[in-house]
Symmetry: C2
Subunit: 381 residues, 2 copies
């Protein structure tokens, strides 16, 4: 594990993305320009694609797009949802985004629950019975730090013959994701989250069933059949963001060097340490779990208790050199979120937890117990 | 001027993009991840935007998109051409691409001439008289190495009240482009060409008139009003490709340190040297110029004489460590193209010309004269 020292005026990011990157990843970008139509770059695409397939646990086609995770979402929606009955599961900001993107291409139904609460799977089943042809899901909803039941949604979609589009942007590469086993027809990830590469690339896997149902006339830049045709020659249809590919190749290599099993265990342990600290402090977590919905292992959302402001906690922490995230949209100021993603380990987790604990003390709030020590025990386990 | 030494197995790229990047640009990317919603990144956007406006010679809004030049093209077309009568000027591959993208959003008219020959401006005037509402032009068509008359097209568009969309991907930052003076409503560039930054960012300027005519429901990822709203706060609507912005900021700074006038003169001199060599060799240039159409100053397309193959010239040059481009599509194998863009100067130009001269000799072809010496004279001037 590579750990990071906070130096100069660079903040250490413990947010749900972007995340600290290993040195090898960062310096891979400094290479002089190469011909993206030459053999050397073809090898970059070939190796990166093969590694991503392993990380996605899929034998499906794996395509990369120079653009953000949202570009990946729109590529999925515009190629597979136009004119179809689409059921969008929503319990956070990114679920809402998939719904918003879907609205550009048809008339989707939002099956929503409050942010961070279990999804209405009964309503999904009804919607599927009534003929929904596509289901969209955000696997790990970082806005609320909840891990949604992708396997169960995949089972329901399959039962009713619907396509299953899954945003795995903050789970793939850090938590359990089995694209083929779960029947995910289109799985999407972004480079700057669990893979610990820089932002700017999206990757999508596309199943044979999805290809059969591919829609005509998606946006030119998101024309997935063109990407598929180029990918067969280890190329891209449009000029690729070469340094980001060089970084992503290195990042994927590091993921597989660590090994997915060890990597998942590490992320779960880091998140467990954060959750344990919150519990010992007597602070509540924002997400509401049940038998199917779990806490996220790549981000933890902790509620501010009465009388405590974001400025007193998140602001103070930032002063000491670590950035954690706040709440988005209507839960702004109500929660703070600690990311457990990227090239980080016990030092970073303990540093941020000590800062949280200290900032509460500074604010005159009496936490129930010593969360830092409890987290340390989890990390030593 | 920064010049580059070809080392190890890295080819020196003298293509019409991607191009060699200055060291400062490359190493700017190696920085650890930063919060793209924080003050430091806002400053990156602010500075980069201000410098791009200076390079574009515009006071219009200037927006950046994480994606290739084609993403920039599609953003322009999808926001300003839907359901409109669009006249696409075409005399090369990228003119064709603007036409192809336009077809996704309506029923454009292609006003085409053979690749590398003067555009049918009479036909454009007729089309405008008959009510064309938008004109698209590729200013510098690298596929044929011809510089198209942007100022004249701008004059015609303005006369008829039409919007003028200009692809300046291989002219902005290296040749004369005056967006406001020429009445360009939407000007597009890409990062990896004349700015000598890595591929992966597109920049667009948008005039007040274009904003008035902005179309509803462009693709979500290309929703320019969302970019405009974010840009007002020095942000981006979707996660930006941070390392590419860091590189682009450095690249723009270098452009302005050199000064646009000096930079344009340097590019013209380099292209002049290449054209002089071709002339002395007795080889013909592919582009056909007239009073309004000139040779490109960022790329030169030279025709292979009878009996000489791409393998004998371009292939040989590559063996010695420099990559030049061939012809695309139907002119593949008929021309080779030398790019005069990026962090290069006299050493690179003379090296490639010496290789071309040597490869012809090796192929048993008797060139008319010593192009290398003639080019050297141009560069010493």
């Amino acid at each position: 594990m590579i750990t990071l020292i906070n130096m100069q005026n660079e903040s250490l990011l413990l947010m749900p993305g972007p995340v600290p990157m290993p040195e090898r990843v960062r310096f891979a970008m400094a290479r002089q320009a190469m011909n993206h139509r030459g053999a050397e770059f073809e090898l970059v695409i070939q190796e990166t694609t093969a590694m991503l397939k392993e990380i996605f646990c899929t034998k499906n086609d794996l395509l990369t797009i120079s653009g953000s995770g949202t570009a990946g979402m729109e590529a999925a929606i515009s190629n597979f949802c136009q004119g179809r009955r689409v059921a969008c599961l929503v319990n956070g900001k990114f679920g809402e985004r998939l719904y918003e993107v879907s609205k550009r291409y048809g008339d989707p139904v939002a099956l929503a629950s409050d942010w961070g609460t279990p999804l209405p799977l009964d309503a999904l089943e009804k919607e599927l019975e009534q003929g929904a042809e596509v289901v969209t899901l955000v696997h790990n909803e970082t806005s609320a730090a909840i891990l949604n039941p992708a396997e169960e949604v995949g089972r329901l979609a399959k039962k009713h013959g619907a396509l299953f589009i899954m945003d795995g942007i903050t789970s793939i590469g850090a938590d359990k994701v089995y694209v083929d086993k779960w029947g995910v027809d289109v799985a999407i990830t972004g480079s700057q989250k669990c893979l610990a590469a820089p932002a700017g690339l999206a990757a999508l896997s596309v199943s044979p069933k999805a290809w059969e149902l591919q829609c005509k006339n998606p946006p030119f830049y998101f024309d997935l059949p063109a990407y598929r045709k180029s990918a067969a020659k280890n190329q891209t249809p449009f000029t690729p963001a070469v340094p980001l590919y060089l970084a992503l190749r290195e990042a994927c290599a590091i993921v597989l060097e660590e090994g997915m099993e060890a990597r998942i265990a590490r992320h779960r342990q880091m998140a467990d340490a954060v959750r344990t600290a919150a519990d010992v402090w007597g602070l509540s977590l924002f997400a509401k779990t049940d038998a199917l919905h779990a806490y996220s292992n790549t981000a933890t959302a902790i509620c501010y208790p009465e009388g405590i402001t974001a400025a007193a906690i998140r602001g103070k922490i930032k002063d000491l050199g670590i950035e954690v995230s706040g709440g988005q949209d209507h839960i702004s100021g109500k929660i703070f979120r600690i990311g457990t993603m990227g090239a980080i380990g016990a030092p970073e987790i303990l540093a941020v937890l000590a800062m949280v604990q200290g900032s509460f003390k500074k604010a005159g709030y009496s936490l129930k117990g010593d969360g830092v020590s409890a987290a340390c025990e989890v990390l030593f386990a």
